[in-house]
Amino acid sequence: MSLLAAENLHVSYGGAAVLEGVSVAIEPGEIVTLVGPNGSGKSTLVKAMLGVISPDRGQVVRSRGLRIGYVPQRLHIDANLPMTVARFLSLPTRQSDASVSAALDRVGVPGLENRQMTALSGGQFQRVLLARALLTDPQILVLDEPTQGLDQPGEAAFYELLEAVRRETGVAVFMVSHDLHVVMSASDRVVCLNRHICCQGTPKVVSAAPEYRALFGHGTHGALALYQHDHDHSHDHDHGPAQADYHGGGHA
């Protein structure tokens, strides 16, 4: 049985459809990556699956007693909210000092317990977020573009850490990413979203799919896109309304 599944989700904001009939399921232990252009509904899908927003139609099914470890895209902590790293790691479930310090060790930032959250660097902050997610002994990690704001070495180090954690614990991972090269190397399955699911499958299958190339491939043979690391392609603007085109094959 799936750990976490979206079934035929429809979500709209103020009349504009953001998700149209999206179904996706995450099985125990697998790494599933969600890719798609800006405004394709990736964050909305994650929020719906966490239960922050309720869909207009469709449903989200969690397996019984599911423990989710969530790492947000960014977390803004109000400057008026004093918060040490140790206190943050104990929210909402109180953790012992020993497990707090073990968790910080595990994500490679030992000894930060008494630092203020607002005094951390971007890389430290993301690792602390991951440590918090791991402390609840989750069956699934949900990460929404967890490396946004990190430089490239920081990004690579974060994904290496994530892979190591997965190897050790067998935790399932559902992750939003725009780092296509990372996606391709680390995922068991890639889901390509643009309001609806364009295509999904193993990285190899998806990168060969014409729908995927229409979104990311710039009319090349797709494989190039995996290494181009292209952050600001503008397909969503060019192709936004004409979704049906994606199914008509790649660009000539």
């Binding site: 929020k47 966490l50 922050v52 969530y70 947000p72 004093p82 206190r87 479930t93 929404d144």
Partner: protein, 279 residues
Amino acid sequence: MTTIMAPRKPIIMGAAMLDDFLVRAAIAGVGVALAAGPLGSFVIWRRMAYFGDATAHAAILGVALALILSIPITLGTLLIALAMAATVSWLAARGHAMDATLGVLAHSALALGLVAISFVPAVRVDLSAFLFGDILAVGKTDLAVIWAGALLVVGLLVWRWARLLTATLSRELAAASGIDPDREGLVLTLALAVVVAVALKVVGALLIAAMLIIPAAAARGLARTPEGMAMGAVGIGATSALAGLGASWQFDTPAGPSIVTAAAAVFLVVAVFGRLRRG
């Protein structure tokens, strides 16, 4: 010698002590500070300052309602504060621009309340008591109401502390941990209405928001954890209540504003020392 040294009457203890209006005022002030400290911290963390203002100003409308319907003032205030808080939450959830909406609601409620009170026969109403508080007139029943309300709010906040704090940090983080952020928001709204209702007598509608925000803001500079800030706010609030009362007695100044002035003085001292310490 011994006859001179002995007190003229035995040291007053227990219930008899409550006969002194200054003692009752002090206990009332400390009661409000107890609830306002942790709640005020949330008001700051969630940037609800104007929300607190709107709810507090609506209390005047509640006073008018209570006078017209001949129900207890605290009940009328509680009902209107709840209605205001619920309205504001509802509008916020529907994506209204809150700055303007709160401004309209807060001042309309205050003005409407003042107009409505003017229809009540004058003999029964001391308007300034509701605007600026009347802490020196706190009776034993008032004390019971204030402390019941304060303990209710503190109990609610302590019970749900971790959930409230998580929901305050991030809605998504809360939802992932199985916490409904909207429900936690509702808990704070409820607590705010109760504090407004019981603090009206102590500091008055115009300064309730000050008792929520100033002690908590002063405690921010001294705290390293959320709990430290909430407890610091209680301490600073209680100290301000006692100092303000003392000053009010000494210099014959209005009690509510004197309490808030004392809190503002503490805030200033902490801010200046914090700045000096950081260099």
